[in-house]
């Protein structure tokens, strides 16, 4: 049995946990990040969605997400954004700086949402995007070429093009074409393909084959497999070789942009001395007098007890494993905190209901310092903060705000922990 002491112990390696760790460590704290698995960052698009659509017209893409959030929290005090409005913009800048400093550039669109194409041919609003995905002026393109790989099973250029055409936003003169290229060999996973594309001779081959399909002024869209390193070197080399802008579109997992983001953040945590323990599940905690004294965790190497001045719960929602549901009730898996759920049906009958499903909003209620509170607002555990998808009140599938909430709440928790004792 191991027993360790920290200033801050974070449970969960999702986006919010990673950001909390980065911020607190930057402020000189001794930080531990403990996680059962790799979190859902690598399943994500790799983009940071902040707020997608207008409050009054939910079909209209919102042009000033930060302002829209300010209006929204004026109406909805239960939304996680309401607890972190003081640090929202600061947290975005922090995120951008950390990623850029570590080789993975994230771009914003002058305060506006980006409208980026997906592999299905839809366009989605998002706020901070890796340079390899930042398609500027998609709808002004004179010509779009969508390139697939014959080794890849989950990307269909023809489907992308026919749906993109239906978006109705393009210049009628815009010419859309598809091409299938290859790197040799049979079926490849996105990761195996991405790794092949890091090899210069293979990339040169792809460039010479794709060149034949190009028309002047083309914008080229690829599946999200352009390299498996943190940087976006492959996309840059492709753009240089093809002499036109090259982008990755978002797709179902496994996709590389989310994995690159995870790699980038983990790399930074290593650089700034955060201790990271993976494959280790938090099993319980000792709480006394409203304070968490100790966290118990179990991994392949045995069990450990962790003492820390503060703790951050960043275990996610149901998908991440932070919440668990049984018929009729939901619970939180480490501290057994009360989960705000609803009576009655947890879902809507229609999977594609535009208001989403009630279960998306289930989670832990916190105060402005991200401490978990009970039904009347009393703090349940003084030195515990809850961040990211574990929080109640956020309908992220519909609002398009999962990444923003994770970054902002994680940042705030890291900052609050960093300020202790100063």
């Amino acid at each position: 049995m191991m027993c360790r002491d920290f200033d801050l112990a974070i449970i969960g390696a999702g986006l919010s946990g990673l950001i909390a760790a980065a911020k607190a460590a930057e402020m000189g704290k001794k930080v531990l990040l403990l996680a059962k698995g790799m979190g859902v960052v690598e399943l994500s698009t790799g983009c940071i969605d902040l707020w997608g659509y207008c409050l009054e017209q939910p079909e209209e893409v919102c042009r000033r997400p930060v302002d829209e959030i300010a209006r929204m929290v004026g109406i909805n005090r239960e939304h996680p954004y309401a607890k972190v409005q003081d640090v929202l913009e600061e947290s975005m800048r922090f995120f951008q700086r950390v990623c850029s400093d570590n080789g993975c550039h994230y771009l914003e669109n002058k305060g506006d949402n980006w409208l980026l194409p997906t592999a299905f041919g839809t366009v989605r609003p998002t706020y901070l995007v890796p340079a390899s995905m930042a398609v500027r002026s998609l709808f002004k393109a004179k010509s779009v070429l969508v390139v697939g790989f014959k080794e890849l099973k989950d990307f269909y250029p023809e489907m992308l093009v026919r749906n993109l055409k239906k978006s109705g936003e393009f210049d009628p003169g815009c010419h859309m074409k598809t091409a299938i290229t290859g790197v040799g060999g049979g079926e490849l996973t996105p990761n195996a393909l991405a790794s092949r594309l890091e090899q210069p001779d293979i990339l040169t081959g792809v460039i010479s084959r794709v060149r034949n399909f190009l028309s002047p002024g083309s914008l080229v869209l690829f599946p999200p497999v352009l390299g498996d390193r943190r940087d976006t070197g492959v996309a840059l080399k492709l753009a240089r070789g093809l002499e036109c802008p090259v982008y990755e579109v978002s797709n179902i997992p496994p996709a590389l942009p989310g994995q690159r983001l995870l790699k980038t953040l983990l790399h930074y945590l290593k650089v700034i001395g955060v201790e990271v323990i993976m494959g280790c599940k938090a099993t319980g905690a000792e709480i006394s007098g409203g304070h968490c004294l100790r966290l118990d965790a179990e991994g392949a190497g045995g069990s450990i007890k962790i003492r820390s001045r503060a703790f951050v719960l960043a275990t996610g929602s149901f998908l991440g494993g932070g919440l668990e549901a049984r018929p009729g009730y939901a619970c939180e898996t480490v501290f057994n905190l009360p989960v705000k759920a609803i009576e009655g049906n947890w879902w809507d009958k229609d999977f594609f209901n535009k208001d989403g499903h009630p279960f998306s909003k289930f989670g832990i209620v916190v105060n402005d310092r991200l401490q978990p509170v009970d039904g009347v607002g009393r703090v349940l555990v003084e030195n515990l903060m809850v961040v990211g998808a574990s929080l109640a009140g956020c309908n992220y599938p519909v609002e398009k705000c999962g990444g923003g909430v994770a970054v902002a709440t994680g940042y705030k928790a890291g900052k609050l922990a960093g300020e202790v004792g100063r």
Binding site: M159, F351, S360, P397, V398, K400
Partner: protein, 534 residues
């Protein structure tokens, strides 16, 4: 308007309707089967997939029991790749009336159903999931059957002899002249186009919709529409069918199919024959009752719930639900109502569909003056996949994919393997849960009666596994871009498919399935933004 001509129009593409089409074609009678949706979308795929030994009905309904027994033997012989020889047990638990067991033993003996008392200790050793407090257990010859496969086999057999099938074709009028049926008017449910089939006779085999079809000519056929909900567990909890040794009731049958187990059923009268929405309450009730036989049931991962509407026939309206006979009735509307050329086949069970078809076509043949005898009990419905073809398949597709595909495809297996041998792309696994290759998906997509992703699903099992289509429906749609039928509306195809899957997921939305649902939302809302797609 397209106009067709045939001798007999069969209304309804379930087990009975397709069985009738096969029987007609074996007797050299021309027939067209019309179905309002896809084949097997109704009751014939919405049951537990149990081929009864007859024992369940021995006490209450010896005639139905005898029919089950005989048909069980016949189907095993003629359709080996659709039937799995699992065997089954009847289990008596503490609290079950011991007197019923004695009554049941006597009734089974009377009917001629083989039963054998099993050693409880041995049984518990082989089936550790069972309740340790079992009092008595009896082995019976229950088997499992794949409804989708059997119906396709019927259709393939009929097609080889000139039988035709028109899916997504709802009967919107039955034409008559001088007291005889002369034709059937159809509306295509996908395009809205109308067509007409001239015929001498029409057979109403539309299961729970039988009253709706009869009403088209102003007749009344009284069926009780009895909804039965079932749940699918993501484990093979038992290797044999498990029945409770007590009067038939809810939640007392477990049926293993491949890697999953189905537990059913409930029994609720409904008004709408299309009311197949399972409710969470029913699922919880099923688990509660099922736990008596399999105590750890609560901890098992559920995949989905589904419901079918049994068409129970009764001449009077005084009884309902499980008290109504599971027997079938052949209604000759010439005798009953003075309308020549219309026959309805009502009630019955999946297990006895072949017999129902035989009785129906006997009458049709008599009316048409055809003397050919019924051959459906002797003629093989599917042939076992030859050893050589399986060997080649294993080489091309790998062991587990080939074995599953051979069972699903039966006679078409060799062709799919041949094509996959030429084209490595076709060997790709598109549905990882059910191990369905692109070759198999393309094979059914080329088929004349495949119009939606749901049709591909019913024919291949694509999207029936733990992910419930989250990954495979997207890639299937992408890969089918070369078929004009599948490029008309990607949004509609995907949303229809996922909405239908959702119907069966919501009643079991907790534990792992809620995680799966959140992943699904992550993909279709967050990554693709499909909910707002125009």
């Amino acid at each position: 308007m397209a106009i067709f001509d045939t001798q007999v129009v069969v209304i309804g593409g379930g087990a009975t309707g397709t069985g009738i089409l096969r029987d007609l074609s074996l007797r050299g009678i021309k027939g067209i089967l019309v179905e309002q949706c896809d084949l097997a979308h109704g009751t014939s795929s919405r049951f537990h997939g149990l081929l009864h030994s007859g024992a369940r009905y021995a006490v209450k309904d010896p005639e139905a029991a005898r029919e089950c027994l005989e048909e069980n033997m016949i189907l095993r012989r003629i359709a080996p790749n659709c039937v799995e020889n699992t065997g089954g047990f009847f289990i008596q638990l503490p609290g079950d009336d011991p007197g019923y067991a004695d009554k049941w033993i006597a009734a089974c003996t009377e009917v001629g159903i083989e039963i054998e008392e099993a050693d409880v200790r041995n049984l518990l050793k082989c089936s550790p999931a069972l309740n340790k407090r079992i009092i008595r257990a009896f082995k019976v010859m229950d088997r499992t059957v794949d409804g989708f496969r059997l119906i396709r086999a019927n259709v393939n057999a009929a097609r080889r002899r000139g039988g035709r099938v028109m899916t997504y074709s709802r009967v919107t009028a039955i034409h008559q002249s001088g007291g005889s049926v002369t034709g059937v008017e159809l509306t295509n449910m996908l395009t809205g186009e109308k067509s007409l089939i001239g015929c001498q006779m029409a057979v109403n085999a539309s299961g729970p919709w039988i009253g709706e079809v009869a009403a088209l000519v102003g007749l009344e056929v009284n069926v009780i529409k009895d909804k039965g909900t079932l749940i699918a567990f993501n484990h093979r909890l038992t290797n044999q069918v498990l029945n409770r040794l007590r009067p038939p009731g809810d939640g007392d049958i477990f049926v293993p199919h491949g890697a999953i187990t189905i537990l059913g059923t409930t029994s609720i009268a409904v008004d709408d024959p299309g009311d197949t929405r399972p409710e969470c309450r029913e699922v919880l009730d099923l688990i509660e009752i099922g736990r008596q036989m399999v105590p750890e049931l609560e901890k098992c991962r559920l995949i989905r719930a589904f419901a079918g509407v049994r068409p129970l026939y009764q001449q009077t309206t005084a009884v309902s639900g499980r008290l109504v006979s599971r027997n079938f009735a052949l209604l000759d509307h010439r005798q009953l109502d003075g309308l020549d050329g219309l026959i309805s086949i009502v009630g019955g069970k999946f297990s006895t569909f072949r017999l129902m078809a035989e009785r129906t076509v006997d009458l049709v043949a008599r009316r048409l003056g055809v003397n050919a005898p019924c051959r459906t009990a002797r003629e093989p419905l599917t042939n076992p996949v030859p050893k050589g073809a399986l060997k080649r398949g294993i080489k091309v597709l790998g062991l587990s994919v080939a074995q599953r595909a051979a069972k699903r495809l039966g006679d078409d297996f060799a062709e799919v393997v041949r094509q996959a041998g030429h084209d490595p792309q076709k060997r790709r696994i598109f549905c990882e849960c059910e191990l369905v290759s692109l070759g198999e998906i393309e094979h059914v997509a080329r088929d004349g009666d495949c119009f939606t992703l749901g049709d591909v699903r019913r024919k291949t099992r694509m999207g029936m596994g733990t992910c419930q289509g989250t990954f495979c429906c997207y890639r299937t749609l992408g890969a089918l871009s070369k078929y004009p039928r599948f490029v008309v509306g990607d949004r509609l195809f995907l949303t229809d498919f996922l909405r239908n899957r959702w119907k069966g997921i919501t009643p079991v939305l907790w534990g792992q399935q809620l995680r799966e649902a959140q992943l699904s939302l992550g993909i279709y809302f967050t990554i693709f933004g499909l909910e707002r797609m125009k």
